[in-house]
Amino acid sequence: MESNNNFFDAWLKSQELIIENLAESTKNFQHAFCGLGVNKPGENDFLHVYTSWTTAVLNSLREMDTTDMGLLKETLSKALGGSNSYTKLFEIWLPLFKAIQEKGMNPYTYKDLSNPAEYKKILDQVFGFDPDAISQVSAQVKKFIDTFACSAGSFMNPWVEASRKSLKTFPQFLEGHPESFMSIFHNMFNAFDGTVGRIFHVPAVGKDREKIELLMRSLDDLSVYLAKSTEYQHMMYVTGLAAFEKVIATVAEKISRGEEIKGFDEFFDLWVDVSERTYHALFQTEDFSKMQGEVLEASVNARKHFFKLMELHLYDFPIALRSEMDDLYKTIYELKKKVNGLEKQLKEVSA
């Protein structure tokens, strides 16, 4: 009897773990997939001096109970985010200013002194990119698979590790070598094909076949999304860096003409103006439009299959599932249309 209890306790724990991981994965998926183009301010905590003060303000805002409190907090958060980018830009320019003062004017010196990894943080802030979220998704998926298949850990590890390593080398892509960028993904896919990918070639059997197939499909979608998303981000980083170099060139030209640079605000204005124009030029290209469309498609496909997978796991729970609700909504919609039509006919007849 006791052994039976242990068995069910263990079973219960394993189920709880699956649900916990599922919930966590969902959260991370949403975090990663909803991030496209959305600013997430305040993540790079630059204002160390003001952290405690900011916390105090936010706490005091939290205590206030008004209808627009969400917007007020959001706005303050964005103001912090805006200042964050402004200050980060200042930090990046600082060594350049010093070089100008100490070593004299030399555009190549400026280029050497620029810090792409730091600059990337500004672009992450602007575009809401969050590479950590993608790493977390990978880790969560691995965790989920581990739990789901119990013994699949060693099977998954090579692929997940390859993905993680690739993602960690993000800043290096800023140097602008698409070929190295692609080779990293080739490595990642090779790792995938040699491990999880093998399952695609083996006919699945048993009652969990549908789950396994969908799981593999979801992983495949995730791989496509990660690849597309990275390629998209790479495009944005390289464009950002090109804009940054244009700003440096403009400053160098100004200095060579003996023009006065009044203060940091002037650099900031120049940076905004040049960056905006450079990005606009990119956005107008067919390549960018296509890439954006592909990232979107990859993200929504991954989302769709992931939710289907969730449904499969929740099927036996006493809750209404998404697809069931969709059917219900469809029925209500059609009934309403019919009733409206009949009401109209009745009105016309009685008029």
């Binding site: 206030m64 605000d265 905004v272 107008q284 939710f307 969709d326 909504y329």
Partner: protein, 403 residues
């Protein structure tokens, strides 16, 4: 000659940075003193509702001098209170003061229960029901429609399908010719797999659409705007106006998937409206059937709906009384810019007053900019009393007051 490098005085830069931080602190204090961001404050009455849609009737400000009521149809991607964002910059208040009788549609916030709603449901259903309600309440065969942005496209479609119910049509920054690539949204939409998007989300989140709008000017809208905001954060009134705009920008309802699917596929990708191939429900839309007077307003610096998408309407309609009005400014400036209040609203009111008579109207030539001139002064003292009514068994609350 001084060395140019001396101009990089570190102390100045540190001062700039320190000033920025001080503004932030001061601004946070101002922010914490704001309780409510009030928008859409012109008094109005809820007169009709159906599902999530609400139809409001504005209280007149002074005498109603235009006999035919105006139905304002705003886009579904943002909220209609943009037309009454702040009391001193409100198209609604301005038009009311010019003697117009105004109704406005609030489309509401669709939930998953609305995911199957189509353009047919919105145009042949909701919009048509609102028009019928106003016709019945005002005892007018025809009413005026003023459609804005996507709401303008829908109003144009509606007017082509039901010309017998529309006396005058006004379109503001409304896209009709989607073939253009002048606007980034038009270019990007052509590569969007809208089927995959709708199948995955059912109700397309407002945040998703917002992310697209922010991408049009990513540095200005994500960084510059908030750095500039620090300059006005110490001034409560200026900050409130900034917050009102922020509230509007991020108050984005989700979009019913099926409706958006058709709008993107048939309009943005297929340009069927211009080709005469768009079907809404079982009705084929022919813009030539827009036979009532048309005032088509476009913004010369509109980056969301470029002039190339709005202006062609005048060449596609069947009416000879068509006016093309150029507003010198951007998409948002049309609603809250000072020129909008001083020039555009009076021009709209004048155009409607000129066409408020019951008799046939003379054809007017297409002009670049309409002059603001009040006509039909004899109608000035006539006033339409708001009425309650009951239509299609939908409950219309009586005397329900809202902000």
């Amino acid at each position: 000659m001084n060395s140019p490098y001396d101009t990089f005085a570190m102390k100045h830069m540190v001062r700039e940075l320190s000033e920025l931080s001080m503004k932030l602190i001061k601004g946070a204090e101002t922010l914490s003193g704001i309780d409510e961001i009030d928008v859409g404050t012109a008094p109005k009455e809820l007169v009709y509702e159906e599902d999530k849609l609400k139809l409001y009737h504005y209280k007149p400000e002074g005498k109603v001098t235009c006999r035919v009521p105006v139905l304002i149809v705003y886009a579904m991607v943002n909220r209609q209170y943009m037309l009454d964002l702040q009391p001193d910059r409100s198209i609604v208040r301005n038009l009311l003061q010019h003697g117009l009788d105004l109704y406005i549609i609030d489309w509401g916030y669709p939930t998953k229960a609305d995911m199957y709603m189509t353009m047919d449901d919105y145009i042949n259903g909701y919009l048509n029901n609102c028009v019928d309600f106003i016709r019945q309440a005002s005892k007018k065969e025809k009413i005026n429609i003023m459609g804005i942005c996507q709401g303008g496209t829908f109003s144009g479609i509606y007017s082509a399908l039901y010309p017998e119910k529309v006396k005058n049509l006004i379109t503001l920054v409304a896209p009709f010719d989607f073939a253009t690539n002048d606007g980034l949204l038009f270019r990007w939409a052509k590569h969007m797999n809208v089927d995959a998007l709708v199948d995955a989300y059912r109700i397309i989140p407002g945040d998703f659409l917002n992310s697209g709008f922010l991408m049009l000017m990513p540095i200005s809208l994500n960084v510059r705007k908030y750095v500039d905001m620090l300059d006005i954060m110490g001034d409560r009134e200026k900050l409130l106006n900034f917050l009102r705009m922020e509230k509007w920008i991020f108050d984005s309802p989700g979009q019913a998937g099926e409706c958006l699917r058709q709008f993107i596929k048939d309009c943005y990708q297929g340009n069927k409206l211009v080709k005469g191939e768009l079907k809404v429900g079982d009705k084929l839309v022919d813009l030539k059937d827009i036979t009532m007077p048309l005032l088509n307003i476009y913004a010369s610096a509109d980056h969301l709906v470029p002039p190339a998408a709005t202006k062609p309407l005048n060449d596609l309609v069947g009416t000879a009384d068509k006016t093309l009005y150029e507003f010198k400014g951007g998409h948002i400036g049309v609603f809250v810019g000072s020129k909008s209040q001083k020039e555009l609203s009076p021009a709209i009111a004048a155009w409607l007053h000129e066409r408020d008579g019951e008799g046939p109207l003379k054809a007017k030539p297409v002009v670049k900019k309409s002059g603001a001139r009040h006509a039909n002064q004899e109608e000035k003292d006539r006033r339409i009393k708001p009425q309650s009514a009951r239509i299609n068994n939908k409950v219309i609350p009586k005397k329900k007051k809202t902000k």
